[in-house]
Amino acid sequence: MINRDAIIDWLEAIAHTYDENQQVLTDLDSPIGDADHGANMARGFNKVAQKIPSYAERSIGEILNDVGLTLMSTIGGSSGPLYGVFFLNASKIAFGKDTLSAHLITTMFESGLMGIVKLGKASPEDKTMVDALSPAVEALKAAVAENKTLSDSLLCAVTAAEAGMKATIPMQARKGRASYLGERSIGHQDPGATSITLLIKAAYNSWHETN
């Protein structure tokens, strides 16, 4: 069961991974974008990390809500609203709960995905973060339905996210800045699919020893 400490561990892990991978995300965002994704994600989650001391006494729902609002006012671009709505939707699922079961974690991620799809209107194979997040949510749901542990379920999600992320390479972008490039977007991994995969991996890394 995931409690407040585990959520905070996850947020710290996300901030850390975006710091470590800032150049990676920048490099992915250069051939098919404007080279700001690495800086944006690092800035957004560093702001979240700075707020962590204020989360010590707050509920999981309140924390996730604050994370969503913080990202929305810090990241900018399209990532701000999209990552913002992911956490805002997640916070609604976690509302009133002190611990989150594998089932609830799954519902949280699914609600986050639905918020992203509703706001960004991406379909599968548009070459976006949805191409990694959607398979991850499906894998999570399937694993939890089979009564796998949270740890094993998250591993399935990570595997699916990574596969989805790599699958964006041959896609032609139909959304976002990469879509201006038309066929020239083919052959490049999508930066948004990469950053959402890192977020999911951070969840696995933070929670796989919990059960």
């Binding site: 920048t26 250069s30 051939p31 098919i32 974008g33 404007d34 080279a35 700001d36 690495g38 800086a39 944006n40 800035r43 929305m72 006012s73 810090t74 990241i75 900018g76 671009g77 399209s78 990532s79 701000g80 609203p81 999209l82 706001l119 960004g120 032609q172 139909r174 959304k175 976002g176 800045r177 879509s179 201006y180 490039l181 038309g182 020239r184």
Partner: protein, 335 residues
């Protein structure tokens, strides 16, 4: 890549402080959230015009704040859309009780953040209308793209709508006018180099000495096609054809033309481009009635040029000629 900056993460803030220090007679800057307003805001009873977007396109948008143009601008991080709280606070600061027009460049992030801001402002009792500018002919407006980019026509919309607002037109009238400007303007850009974003430290993409990128945007991203470099006249002929046939512009049309430097191209080259463009228009019976040649909507240090053409009418031309007093654009007798 050498830049005249201090720490990359402070670029936007220090530039805003510099603008505030340079133009205290025209603008006021607020920080966290960042936004810039005209020094005499709010103007009671006047429709307020707000725009914004990523930084790195200066003078767009902050340089266009003042009498006869923008009431406020919201600068995001470099090439990154501003966040809803910026637009909300800006709207509150300039709302004169006659509503606010958001002029939004058509980029996924800009559209999302301005849309959220519009909802927030509405729920605080501010009447908001939004118009999306999408004049770039290089991208197909289809289900398979994020739509045509908003580029040079943004400058035209801000000037013309700003004048209308200064003259007391209503939010509804100005919204319709803005749509008309957008519908009658087309643009295209060509680059000789990409640009270097401060936090990246190196150019977003590289071009060979003998190559050019055609159909560029304003964020340093690759364009539609990479072609061998041609002469200025041949490049202008290609760009003009793309723009003229898209509207299409016809013989006997009156047009306002902007030959815009992307930031890294010298004025002497922009005039060479204008020379050929002027010839092409004359040959086709298209009358250039007004023009801008210079850096108006840039992409940091990108070498390149964009051409914007607006098919104008009496009303738009009168509003174009109306007085304006901003850091980047000043004309018209002011009493």
């Amino acid at each position: 890549m050498k830049k005249l900056i201090n720490r990359p993460e402070n670029v936007v803030k220090e530039a805003l402080m510099g603008m505030a220090a340079a133009h205290p007679d025209l603008i006021r800057v607020s920080y966290e959230p960042n936004f810039i307003v005209r020094v005499d805001a709010p103007k009671e009873g006047k429709t307020a015009i707000i725009s914004g977007g990523g930084s790195g396109h200066e003078p767009l948008h902050g340089g266009f704040i003042g009498l006869g143009m923008l009431d406020a601008a919201c600068p995001g991080e470099v090439f990154t859309s501003p966040t809803p709280d910026q637009m909300l606070e800006a709207a509150k600061a300039v709302n004169g009780g006659a509503g606010v027009l958001f002029i939004i460049k058509n980029y996924t992030g800009d559209v999302m953040n301005f849309e959220i801001a519009a909802q927030l402002a509405q729920s605080e009792g501010i009447d908001v209308a939004s118009v999306i500018i999408n004049d770039d002919v290089a991208v197909q407006d289809s289900l398979f793209t994020a739509g045509r980019r908003g580029v040079g026509a943004t400058v035209f919309a801000e000037k013309i709508c700003g004048a209308a607002a200064e003259q007391g037109q209503s939010l509804a009238q100005i919204e319709a006018l803005c749509r008309r400007v957008n519908a009658n303007a087309r643009s295209i850009g060509v680059a000789l180099t990409s640009c270097t974003v401060p936090s990246a430290g190196k150019p977003t993409f590289s071009l060979g000495d003998d190559e050019m990128e055609v159909g560029i945007g304003i964020h340093g991203e690759p364009g539609r096609r990479r072609l061998p470099l041609e002469s200025a006249d041949d490049i202008t002929t290609m760009m003009a054809a793309a723009v003229l046939e898209d509207l299409p512009f016809k013989s006997d049309d009156d047009v306002i033309v902007m030959v815009n430097g992307m930031g890294g191209t010298p004025l002497i080259e922009l005039y060479i481009i204008y020379n050929k463009l002027d010839q092409i228009c004359r040959e086709q019976g298209i009358r250039i009635v007004r023009n801008l040649v210079g850096n108006y909507i840039t992409a940091l240090d990108m070498s390149g040029v964009s051409i914007t053409m607006l098919k104008t009418d009496h009303e738009m031309l009168a509003l174009w000629d109306a007085p304006v007093k901003t850091p980047a654009l000043t004309w018209g007798g002011l009493s």
